[in-house]
C-alpha cells in the first residue's frame, strides 16, 4: 500500500496587487483591498499596507497568514531597534532587515510579495522591491502581486526607467509631481482591475512626505 500523502497545502494565494512610486520628496504606496481564496472573495475591505516606521511603509500581497506573521516579526524587531538606538529605523535599514527576515525562511518561505516604500535619509523617495526569499533592489517604482504583470510594463512606459547598464548609475526617481504620481497609480489600478480577477473592490493609497503620511481611498470595480 502506498503511503498516504497529505492533501492540504500550507500555502494559499489570497491575491491582490501592490504598487509603489518614488518621487523627489515623496513616496506613493498603493494596494487594493480585496482578499480572495480560489475563486471566492473572502472580504472586500482588507488593507495590505502597513506602516513599519515613520519613513518606511510595507505593502505585501500573497499568502495573508505569512504576510501577517512577517509584519509582526518586523514590527517587533523595529521596537527592539528603537530601544537600542533611540531612533526610528531608516527606510534603507528596514529594507535590509526585510531581506534578511525573508531569507531566514529560505527553506520554508514566507509566501509574500513585498514592496517597501519610504523616504531615505536625505528625504528623497525610495522604493525597494522583493521576491519571496529576500532578493531585493532599490528602484524608482515597482508593482508586485497578481496584477503586477499588467501594471509593470505600463509604469515602465510612463516613468521611463533608465537602463541599469548606464554609467554613472542613474536612479529612477520620477520627476513627476505628487498629484501626477497619485493619478498614475489610480489609472493603473483601474486598468488592472478590469483584467485581473484578484484585483478590485477598493484602492488604498498612502502618500509619505517629510511632514507626515496622508491616506486616500478610491472605489474600484467589484466584479
Amino acid at each position: 500500500m502506498t503511503k498516504q500523502h497529505a492533501n492540504w497545502s500550507p500555502y494559499d494565494n489570497n491575491g491582490g496587487t501592490c504598487v509603489a512610486i518614488a518621487g523627489s520628496d515623496y513616496c506613493v504606496i498603493a494596494a487594493d483591498t480585496r482578499m480572495s481564496t480560489g475563486y471566492s472573495i473572502l472580504t472586500r475591505d482588507y488593507s495590505k499596507i502597513h506602516k513599519l516606521a515613520d519613513k518606511a511603509v510595507l505593502s505585501s500581497s500573497g499568502f495573508q497568514a505569512d504576510v501577517k506573521a512577517l509584519q509582526k516579526v518586523l514590527k517587533s524587531r523595529h521596537l527592539v531597534y528603537q530601544h537600542q538606538h533611540n531612533k526610528q529605523m531608516s527606510c534603507p535599514a528596514m529594507a535590509q532587515l526585510l531581506s534578511n527576515t525573508l531569507y531566514f525562511k529560505r527553506f520554508f518561505p514566507y509566501y509574500a510579495f513585498n514592496v517597501l516604500g519610504g523616504l531615505d535619509e536625505q528625504g528623497k523617495g525610495c522604493v525597494f522591491t522583493y521576491d519571496a526569499v529576500g532578493s531585493y533592489e532599490k528602484v524608482g517604482y515597482s508593482a508586485q502581486g497578481s496584477g503586477s504583470t499588467l501594471i509593470m510594463p505600463f509604469l515602465d512606459n510612463q516613468l521611463k526607467s533608465p537602463s541599469p547598464l548606464l554609467l554613472p548609475a542613474q536612479d529612477a526617481i520620477t520627476p513627476l509631481s505628487e498629484p501626477e504620481a497619485v493619478d498614475l497609480v489610480k489609472t493603473v489600478f483601474a486598468s488592472a482591475t478590469e483584467r485581473d480577477i484578484y484585483t478590485g473592490d477598493k484602492l488604498e493609497i498612502m502618500i509619505l512626505k517629510a511632514d507626515g503620511i496622508r491616506t486616500e481611498v478610491m472605489e474600484l470595480r467589484k466584479d
Binding site: 503511503k3 497529505a6 497545502s9 500550507p10 489570497n14 471566492s40 473572502l42
Partner: protein
C-alpha cells in the same frame, strides 16, 4: 500546488510513525457556519450535524460555544480539533481570570490568539482542521472575524465557512445592512441556512442560532426550518426528457 513535506526532527531518517503523529485528513466534520453583525451585536448560525465522510454520524453536536464573557466561537471542520481548541481557550480564559484585575479577554484578543495557534500548527505541518468564526461585543463595539486552518484571518460585517462562503455570502452581500434588528437578522440567517439545507449535502435540518450582545452570549435551543418541495417541476421531473428506453 503539490508540496513535499520536509520534516526534520534532527534525525535524518523519517519513520512511518512520524506521519501518524500529524493530521492528514479530517474524520468527523461539521459543515458551514454563517454569522452577521447586527444592531445590538453579532448573530451566528450553525447546524448540529457531525458527518463521518458521507455518513451523518452525529446529530447533536453544538458547534458554537461561548468564550469568556464577550465572545462566541463557531467551528466547521474536524470536531475533535474544535474540542481541542476549546480546551486551549479554557486555559486562556482561566489564566485571564486568575489575574483578577477586572480586565477580560475581548473578541479581538481571542481572534488574534486563535490566528496564532492555527498558524503555528500549520508551520509544524500538523494543522487543526477547522475554519473558525469568532464573534463578540465588548465596550459597545461588535467584532466578527474568521480564521482558516492555515492561519488566514480577517474580519468583516458578515462571514461564512465552507459552503456558506459560496451560497450564503452572496445573499449577505445583497441584503445585509448595518442596522438590522434582531428579528431581521435571524430572518436573514435563516434564509442563508435554508439555501444551505437545500444545496449542501452535509447539512441537516436541526440548527441553532446564537446571539452575542453587550449583555452576554445566548445559544438558542435547536429547531428546524420549514422547507418547500412542492415545486411543479419536482412533481414529474422527467416530463421533458422521456425517451424510448
Amino acid at each position: 500546488m503539490t508540496f513535499t513535506i520536509p520534516i526534520d526532527n534532527g534525525d535524518s531518517v523519517k519513520t512511518a510513525e512520524a506521519d501518524s503523529q500529524r493530521t492528514l485528513y479530517p474524520y468527523v466534520t461539521g459543515t458551514s457556519i454563517v454569522a452577521i453583525k447586527y444592531k445590538d451585536g453579532v448573530l451566528m448560525a450553525s447546524d448540529m450535524g457531525g458527518s463521518y465522510g458521507s455518513t451523518l454520524r452525529y446529530k447533536n453536536i453544538e458547534r458554537m460555544k461561548a468564550i469568556g464573557k464577550h465572545s462566541l466561537l463557531g467551528a466547521s471542520g474536524e470536531i475533535s480539533d474544535f474540542q481541542e481548541i476549546l480546551r486551549y481557550l479554557d486555559e486562556l480564559v482561566l489564566n485571564d481570570n486568575m489575574w483578577d484585575d477586572g480586565n477580560s479577554l475581548g473578541p479581538k484578543e481571542v481572534h488574534n490568539y486563535l490566528t496564532r495557534v492555527m498558524y503555528n500548527r500549520r508551520n509544524k505541518f500538523n494543522p487543526l482542521w477547522n475554519t473558525l468564526v469568532l464573534g463578540g461585543v465588548k465596550n459597545g463595539e461588535s467584532y466578527l472575524g474568521m480564521v482558516s486552518m492555515i492561519g488566514v484571518s480577517f474580519e468583516d460585517n458578515h462571514v461564512a465557512t465552507g459552503f456558506g462562503n459560496h451560497l450564503a455570502r452572496p445573499i449577505l452581500r445583497d441584503e445585509w445592512r448595518a442596522d438590522l434588528s434582531f428579528e431581521d437578522g435571524v430572518k436573514l440567517l435563516e434564509k442563508c441556512m435554508r439555501v444551505l439545507l437545500y444545496r449542501d449535502r452535509s447539512a441537516i435540518n436541526k440548527l441553532q442560532i446564537a446571539k452575542i450582545t453587550e449583555e452576554g452570549v445566548t445559544v438558542s435551543q435547536p429547531y428546524s426550518l420549514k422547507t418547500f418541495w412542492e415545486f411543479k417541476a419536482f412533481n414529474n421531473p422527467t416530463a421533458g426528457a422521456e425517451g424510448s428506453w
